[in-house]
Symmetry: C2
């Protein structure tokens, strides 16, 4: 099968803080399904278990601003006191190479990605209930009570906007959510708009 005319596929994953985006992405990265995880820039402090260059690129506010100035950031948003952004160069290179690229981005940033990549596939990761979400945030033990209350308020606003996304994946059991995302990736690769090369191949060699 010729892959020459196949452009890559861009996927965005959003979801409230505590919905389990990092857990899901870690599991996806372990599977052999040919996806490339993009790593975001952030100015927030790393949590104890977070690895620089894997979970995020942790940078100073000054470095972040310089990158924006140099047009090296695809989208960015301020969330609380911290900035989050997506470095642009790797994404465009991977898409040119035909890869499936997954971006983890905030709901605010998703809009900007959609505007720039109209054929993006957008996934919203949803907690099974608000009670479970709150429990997960409390189990983290890294956030203050004020932080938790603030995150729950923001979560409600974000969930109310989940219908702006193409797909909604409930993260109750991690394995099921990962399986759902794998199915979405497999299905989206078969979209007729992405299979034009195959139609030409069959008809032109007839």
């Amino acid at each position: 099968m010729s892959g020459k005319n196949k452009r890559g596929m861009l996927i965005i994953l959003s979801g409230p803080s505590g919905s389990g985006k990092d857990t899901i992405l870690t599991q996806l990265a372990k599977r052999d399904i040919g996806v490339q995880l993009s790593v975001s820039l952030t100015t927030r402090a790393p949590r104890e278990w977070e690895i620089d260059g894997f979970h995020y690129y942790f940078v100073s506010k000054q470095t972040f601003m310089e990158k924006i100035h140099n047009d090296e950031v695809l989208e960015y948003a301020k969330y609380g006191e911290n900035f989050y952004g997506t470095p642009s160069a790797p994404v465009d290179r991977w898409l040119d190479e035909g890869k499936t690229v997954i971006l983890k981005i905030e709901v605010q940033g998703a809009e900007k990605i959609r505007a720039r990549y109209p054929d993006v596939v957008s996934l919203f990761l949803m907690p099974p209930s608000m009670e479970v979400l709150e429990q997960r945030l409390r189990n983290r033990e890294s956030d203050s009570e004020e932080d938790i209350v603030r995150r729950m308020t923001i979560a409600r606003e974000e969930i109310a906007r989940s219908e702006e996304y193409d797909y909604i994946v409930v993260n109750d059991v991690v394995d099921y959510a990962v399986s759902d995302i794998c199915a979405i990736i497999q299905a989206e690769r078969l979209r007729s708009t992405r299979m034009k090369y195959k139609v030409s191949e069959v008809l032109d060699h007839a």
Copy 2:
């Protein structure tokens, strides 16, 4: 998880004669993925291995016309000398019951289904090449040389229209094609338009 507000999902499967629709549907029916296969009416003669009520309802031309007259046929088309149609009552009942219903229909009929059910999910089953398609038609040993030539011409016209479908599944290895269709069904159930009930559930119980 409440299923009260979940309406069923309608899927149509089209593809040229010899693309393997029946083989694929037989395999899908064996899997425990909660799909309901619709059975079409046809006036054509059954092939030796075909079972009335499973592969088709084989009816006379007179019976077929009476059913059209009584508005019991969702769509129908003439294909060669024969009529093919979809009985309407079971489809609407299954959708009301929240089931996933798969219809095997001709390319001509697909248009009519799309007009009546705008949220239908449409799949086009494509042979890996025209050479393989011709070989499959010849292996059947039930068609005359004229039939094969005619079917190949129609197949080219149908494949040229495959981009009218949501998804294109290449049927090279049957198990892979079945896996692709299962992934599409799993993914489509997670479309945000079909997950509104879940968003309400999470937000309303908060």
